[in-house]
C-alpha cells in the first residue's frame, strides 16, 4: 500500500466529512427555509465527496476496510481533518465564515489537483470543483452581506473571523507525506494555493468591511490526529449507530 497516498486521502476525505457533518447539523434549524435547504445541499455535496474519496482510500489501503469503515469506525486520533472544520457552528455568522475560510482553500486546491498524476484524484477534483465553486460563491456573498450589513451582523461576523483565524494556518500544513507525493506530481505545493487563499480572503473580508487579524497565535494538530475537544462529540454522534449496531444498514 502507498501509505502517503492513503494518509493524504484521509486528509481530503476527513475535511469533507467533518465540515459536511457540521453543515448537516443546521438541517431544520436554518435561519430561513431557503438557507436551510442551501446548507443541507452543501452538506450532501461534502458527504458525497467524502464517500468517493474514502472509496478510493479503501482501495489504496487494500485491507478489506470499506468506505463506511473509514468514515465510521476509526478512533479520534486516526482522523486527519484540520481543526477549522470541526469547530462548532455557534451561530450563522461563525458557520458561514468557517465555510468561507475553508471554501477559499478548497477551490484552488481542487483546481491544482485536477492536474494530479493520479487519475483517480484528478477525476475526484474535477467533479468536486464544480460544487466547490458554488460553495465559495455562496459563503463569500454571505460573509459580505453579514460584514457589510447591520451593526449586529458586522459584530457577529467580525467575532467569527477573530475566533476562527487561529485555525487557518493549518490549512497549509505540509510534512514528509506531502513532499513524497509532490515529488511524484500527485499533489501540488501549497505555497501558490496559500497565495490565492490569501488574496480571496483579503478581497472578500475587505469588501465585507471586516478587519483581518494580524498574525497572532496559530493552532495546529488535526492533520496529525491531535484534535480539539469538539471532534469527540462529533464522532460520538456520527458513529453511534455503527458502534451500537455493528454492520447495520438502512
Amino acid at each position: 500500500m502507498n501509505k502517503n497516498l492513503f494518509e493524504y486521502l484521509l486528509r481530503l476525505g476527513d475535511d469533507s466529512l467533518i465540515i459536511g457533518h457540521r453543515l448537516s447539523e443546521w438541517c431544520g434549524h436554518g435561519p430561513i427555509l431557503e438557507e436551510d435547504i442551501a446548507m443541507t445541499n452543501m452538506a450532501l455535496d461534502f458527504i458525497g465527496q467524502a464517500t468517493t474519496i474514502f472509496e478510493y482510500a479503501a482501495k489504496v489501503e487494500n485491507t478489506g476496510r470499506d468506505a463506511d469503515a473509514l468514515a465510521f469506525l476509526r478512533y479520534e486520533r486516526e482522523y486527519r481533518n484540520v481543526l477549522l472544520v470541526e469547530q462548532p457552528n455557534e451561530d450563522f455568522a461563525v458557520t458561514m465564515v468557517r465555510q468561507f475560510l475553508f471554501d477559499a482553500f478548497r477551490k484552488p486546491l481542487y483546481e491544482a489537483l485536477q492536474n494530479s498524476s493520479d487519475t483517480q484524484i484528478a477525476a475526484i477534483a474535477e467533479k468536486s470543483l464544480k460544487e466547490t465553486k458554488y460553495h465559495l460563491k455562496h459563503s463569500s456573498e454571505w460573509v459580505i452581506r453579514l460584514g457589510d450589513g447591520t451593526e449586529e451582523s458586522h459584530e457577529k461576523a467580525q467575532y467569527a473571523v477573530d475566533t476562527l483565524w487561529r485555525y487557518t494556518d493549518e490549512l497549509f500544513f505540509e510534512n514528509e507525506v506531502d513532499a513524497a507525493l509532490q515529488a511524484e506530481n500527485v499533489i501540488p505545493s501549497l505555497i501558490p494555493i496559500r497565495e490565492e487563499w490569501q488574496k480571496t480572503v483579503t478581497d472578500v473580508l475587505t469588501e465585507a468591511t471586516l478587519s483581518i487579524p494580524q498574525n497572532g497565535w496559530k493552532q495546529q494538530g488535526g492533520r496529525t490526529g491531535l484534535h480539539s475537544e469538539h471532534l469527540g462529540y462529533i464522532l460520538a454522534e456520527l458513529q453511534y449507530m455503527q458502534r451500537a449496531y455493528p454492520g447495520m444498514k438502512w
Binding site: 435561519p31 430561513i32 427555509l33 431557503e34 438557507e35 435547504i37 442551501a38 445541499n41 450563522f92 460563491k137 455562496h138 456573498e141 452581506r145
Partner: protein, 95 residues
C-alpha cells in the same frame, strides 16, 4: 434572523434548451442575486432546470378575478377560433 421584511420573488425555471421558462413557485430574498441562488437551492436540486428567472412579486400585475366573466367567458362561445375545422390529410403525424 427573520426574513419577514424581505421581498417576495416569483421563480421561473427553464427545464432544457428550447423550452420556455415556467413558473415554479416563490421565495423570499433580500435582493435579486440572493433570489437566484435561493431558487437554485430550492427549485433545481433534482436537476429541474438550466436557467432561472426571478421577478419581484410586486412587479407582477395580475388580472382581476372579479372580472373573469367579462374577460374569459366570451371566448367560450367562439369555437371557430380553434383550428378544429380542417381536414387533416392522411399521413400527417404529430397533429
Amino acid at each position: 434572523m427573520s426574513n419577514a421584511n424581505w421581498p417576495l420573488w416569483e421563480v421561473f425555471i427553464r427545464s432544457k434548451q428550447g423550452l420556455s421558462h415556467k413558473h415554479v413557485g416563490s421565495l423570499r430574498a433580500a435582493d435579486a442575486q440572493m433570489a437566484v441562488e435561493n431558487a437554485r437551492d430550492v427549485y433545481t436540486r433534482r436537476s429541474e432546470g438550466i436557467s432561472i428567472w426571478v421577478v419581484q412579486s410586486n412587479d407582477v400585475f395580475a388580472s382581476d378575478p372579479s372580472e373573469a366573466d367579462s374577460l374569459y367567458e366570451p371566448a367560450d362561445s367562439k369555437v371557430y377560433r380553434h383550428p378544429t375545422f380542417y381536414d387533416v390529410p392522411d399521413g400527417i403525424s404529430h397533429m
